[in-house]
């Protein structure tokens, strides 16, 4: 089993690496190619004297190479995998050489050690100790956040008094300053929303930006007010408010929660950049539980995004949900493994009734009014183009109901070309007033439509 070339290239940290990787995918560059059910390996003649040793653990997929590149995965890893996808006959099925089996073994040992550590961490004494130290940190942080929120209050009140019509005539650095202030006071979640909002106001040219900006400001005010009354909120909602402000729940705490085991289909991913930090949200759905799960990954500075699960693939294993009113975000447990890269054609699914999708959305919104977007896999919808409209693209369900496609979606024609005026499955996010497609599925193949990655 192998990923498709598209999926492999999507693993590259950036477009330049993807291109360099395709350059490495030629037999003349490699020797000692081999593989078995678990891994692939090969020697690549680089500029150095000794060839580089590149290896891939297929279950991750995870890459390792002893070249000095700081890109991860490096071009040799990408090239090796592409070569395998194109010409698997060139890989001799043998036992792994020492350097491969050592690596695989160390990976296993590491995950065992991690599991042992987790087991240790979930003893009652350890939990109590951690909670005590957390308590202390939290109290200090609470004070900080309060200071930041007081500034935010004054700022929001000013904006309400002045109105949004004159906003663009004021300097954009006010927004940056407000965001920095919120970072300083440890409210990173609010800070990045303020920064994004600022960018959308000064960057975007669309009519009606005032309304969208006003709604986002209202959301900020709502989060802020909810925080003021945090103690009176139900527990799930408390988590939502705290994470909206910028409180992060530690991964170990999440892993200590009971997990859910399932076969998980990767439906799509959304990558975003906001100046310093890049993020990638990968959406999965459990086959038997029917639950949505979101894996969030981040890049910061020169650190690229780690490889995300490829769209269309199936994973098997356990996920642990972050505590929330509407649990979506997860951490993968160590048993999460790539099961099938491209499952191919699947049995026909009944057409989506949009009305019932929105029923679910309303319920989620009732449980978590801070919900920004909601994943939807729409079966048998058809993209429709209406020239001249503010939102020219719609998705038409089988019964004639239609959803407007978000203005930021840049791949309308691509989706149209894939569908050809016929129904297909589109996965994406309902953003409150419009739909943002992230992937399409037709003839047993998945197509990534996320425009966020260079």
């Amino acid at each position: 089993m192998s990923l498709t070339a598209e999926q492999i290239l999507a693993l590259a940290p950036d477009a330049a690496s993807a291109k360099a990787g395709t350059g490495q995918a030629s037999l003349s560059k490699w020797s000692g190619l081999g593989g078995h059910a678990q891994a692939l390996w090969g020697l690549c003649q680089g500029s150095g004297k000794e060839p580089y040793r590149a290896q891939i653990d297929l279950a991750g997929p995870a890459f390792k190479c002893n070249c000095p590149s700081r890109k991860f995965p490096c071009k040799h890893g990408i090239g090796l995998y592409l070569l395998y996808a194109r010409d698997s006959a060139a890989f001799k099925e043998t036992d792994a050489p020492q350097w491969v089996s050592d690596w695989l073994q160390s990976r296993e040992e590491r995950s065992e050690k991690k599991a042992a550590k987790e087991a240790e961490a979930s003893t009652p004494e350890a939990i109590a100790a951690r909670e005590a130290s957390q308590q202390k940190r939290q109290e200090k942080r609470q004070g900080n956040v309060e200071t930041g929120l007081a500034v935010l209050d004054a700022w929001l009140e000013d904006l309400a008094r002045e109105g949004l019509a004159t906003l663009r005539s004021k300097p954009s650095k006010d927004w940056e300053a407000m965001a920095s202030r919120l970072v300083d006071t440890q409210a990173a979640g609010l800070a990045s929303r303020v920064r994004r909002l600022g960018l959308s106001i000064y960057g975007g040219g669309n009519d009606g930006w005032e309304l969208a900006a006003a709604r986002e400001l209202a959301q900020l005010a709502l989060v802020r007010q909810a925080y003021a009354r945090l103690a009176s909120l139900p527990e799930g909602l408390q988590h939502e408010v705290r994470s909206a402000i910028g409180w992060a729940t530690g991964q170990e705490d999440v892993l200590a929660q009971p997990g859910i085991q399932d076969r998980w289909l990767v439906l799509g991913a959304r990558t975003q950049e906001d100046g310093r930090v890049g993020s990638c949200a990968t959406y999965l759905r459990g086959e038997s539980s029917g639950r949505w799960a979101v894996l969030l990954q981040f890049s910061a500075g020169s650190m690229a995004l780690p490889p995300a699960p490829p769209t269309g693939a199936i994973y098997q294993g356990t996920v642990h949900y972050y505590p929330a009113a509407v649990p979506l975000r997860v951490v993968f447990a160590d048993d999460m493994k790539l099961l099938e890269a491209a499952p191919g054609p699947q049995p026909a699914v009944a057409a989506t009734e949009l009305a019932s999708e929105f029923e679910h959305y309303a319920q989620a919104l009732a449980a978590n009014p801070f919900l920004e977007s909601w994943p939807m896999a729409l079966e048998q919808v058809t993209p429709v183009h209406e020239a001249g409209k503010a939102l020219p693209w719609s998705l038409r369900a089988a019964n004639g109901d239609a959803l407007p496609v978000d203005a930021v979606f840049r791949q309308g024609w691509q989706l149209h070309a894939l569908a050809g005026g016929h129904p297909l499955r589109v996965f994406g996010l309902w953003q409150g007033y419009s739909f943002l497609p992230l992937s399409a599925f037709i003839d047993g193949r998945s197509f990534n439509l996320d425009g966020g990655k260079g």
């Binding site: 959301q219 149209h416 007033y433």
Partner: protein
């Protein structure tokens, strides 16, 4: 989604100008924090609207695209994805041409990026149009920007007519060529009807277009053009008449030279000896036929007259009239004191006969280099270029012979010719010629320690020309692994091999079924 009017106004103008009453509407249910009541009311309104969203009903289904005859093999699609990502991007036209030949259209997922790429590249558009398929044409029809660029091609008679009547000079010339290939006689009539009114520059630009579909029916018009006021028009007419087999111009020049030539038989087994008397004077009729019009090689005046006349006579005339082969003609001429002049004229005549589509022209190109007389190297640097006018099969034959000719004189011209060929869109030479070309390249390697400046270009030419059907020959003939200079050459050689392997994969991808 609209907001209630008072809320909308307050958001835009600010509560300092539009007093906002939180007691109205939804806001009544809230316990607003002083100063932020506007935002709270808006947040509540927003949630209320979002929770109650209903999709618009009753949208009519769009008109779907028809289905394509043959699906693109998955392996070929993967290759196309790599090409579009910039790997061996120069092979994109080859992919499109192969797809066209196999009756396959561009996979749906690649249509939009290719259509976008083609917006600024007319050559790509040309290759793309025949393989757009049902889906592609359906898509183009819906996007005005694309449909403007990917309009019907130039064989559309109405568009040609319009270009001919109202276009710019280059457009009119292109239209005239299109008209000539459709109906030479009608096109000639169109040109003749407005000939007297055309500006001199335009006459000079339009006349060469008659080369398309040239026949004796054009002769009277061309003869008349020999008397044109403009020099460029006269020389264009002369060139066309020289190309035209059986033209009176050729016959007149041949007759004048026959009068100057005297062939002395030398007995069995020997070629006759040619005696040449230079023309004494150049009369009006000779001038009209271009004698004395040009002297590109700074010959003596009378020699240049000979050269001018030689140019206008098809080389086959001499073989016929002297009863010898092409090599014989060449050797007879070389033995003469004016051999250089005669040969140079003959080379130009050979080039013109290639343009006339003569079957034997290739033999003459071969004979020039095959001739055993030393110092046969042709003066004209454009000799290899002239051979480009041959049909592909003839060109291939010439290339083969030049590479193989014993005295080695053909090799530089062969490489020049080979270098011109890749521009002809995905041309590929036969396995036999590929072996010879590669052999020459390997020989060049052995003669030098390190690749010179132009060597990269030489390798690139090979990468685009060599046959990729049977790949085994690519591994043969290289210097020994222990060769001292391998380090200087390895990268070029590896790149060449890789490019050819990739091309081989590309070709196979249309027939292999990976799934």
């Amino acid at each position: 989604m609209q907001l209630p009017l008072n809320l909308h106004k307050a958001v835009l103008a600010g509560t300092s100008r539009v007093p906002f009453d939180p007691a109205g509407g939804l806001a009544a249910a809230l316990q607003p924090l002083a100063g932020q009541s506007l935002w709270h009311a808006l947040a509540a309104q927003d949630l209320w609207q979002r929770a109650g969203f209903l999709p618009a009903a009753g949208m009519a289904p769009p008109e779907g695209a028809g289905s394509d005859a043959a699906a693109c093999p998955r392996a070929a699609e993967d290759i196309l994805q790599l090409l579009m990502r910039g790997m061996h991007a120069n092979l994109l036209p080859t992919w499109l041409a192969l797809a066209h030949a196999k009756g396959v259209s561009v996979p749906h997922a690649c249509l939009v990026p290719l259509l976008e790429q083609g917006m600024g590249k007319p050559a790509l558009r040309e290759g793309l149009m025949p393989v757009l398929g049902e889906r592609g044409r359906w898509l183009v029809a819906q996007n005005p920007e694309w449909s403007a660029k990917y309009a019907a091609s130039s064989d559309d008679a109405v568009a040609v007519e319009l270009a001919w009547n109202t276009g710019s000079p280059p457009q009119r010339a292109a239209a005239l060529r299109a008209m000539r290939s459709a109906d030479p006689a009608a096109a000639l009539a169109s040109l003749q009807s407005g000939w007297a009114q055309e500006a001199a520059d335009l006459r000079a630009a339009l006349l060469p277009c008659l080369e398309v579909g040239l026949s004796l029916a054009d002769e009277p018009f061309l003869e008349a053009a020999l008397d044109d006021k403009r020099k460029e028009v006269r020389s264009a007419a002369r060139e066309l008449l020289a190309i035209l087999p059986g033209s009176q111009l050729s016959a007149r020049c041949a007759a004048r030279m026959e009068a100057l030539f005297k062939l002395q038989p030398e007995g069995d087994g020997h070629l006759p000896v040619l005696e040449v008397a230079l023309p004494e004077a150049c009369d009006k009729a000779m001038k009209r036929d271009g004698v004395g019009a040009e002297n590109p090689y700074r010959m003596g005046e009378k020699q240049s007259w000979l050269f001018n006349m030689m140019q206008c006579v098809p080389p086959s005339h001499w073989a016929r009239s002297w009863g010898v082969s092409a090599e014989g003609v060449l050797q007879i001429m070389q033995a003469n004191e004016f051999g250089r002049v005669l040969q140079e004229g003959l080379v130009h005549a050979i080039g013109l006969s290639a343009r006339a589509g003569s079957e034997q022209a290739a033999d003459w190109f071969i004979a020039i280099h095959a001739s055993k007389v030393p110092n046969v190297r042709v003066l004209s640097t454009r000799f290899a270029e002239l051979a480009m006018a041959l049909p592909p099969s003839g060109r291939e034959r010439v290339l083969h012979a030049w590479l193989e000719c014993g005295n080695g004189s053909g090799v530089p011209d062969a490489l020049l010719l080979a270098r011109q060929m890749p521009s002809e869109g995905g041309a590929q030479v036969s396995p036999a010629v590929s072996r010879l070309l590669l052999g020459r390249l390997q020989q060049m390697m052995r003669e030098k320690d390190a690749p010179g400046y132009g060597m990269k270009y030489e390798f690139e030419t090979m990468a685009s020309l060599l046959d990729v059907g049977e790949m085994a020959y690519l591994e043969q003939g290289w210097p020994e692994p222990g060769w001292a200079h391998w380090d200087n050459w390895r990268q070029l050689v590896d790149e060449l091999k890789e490019a050819l392997r990739f091309k081989n994969t590309l070709h196979r991808s249309f027939t292999d079924n990976k799934e």
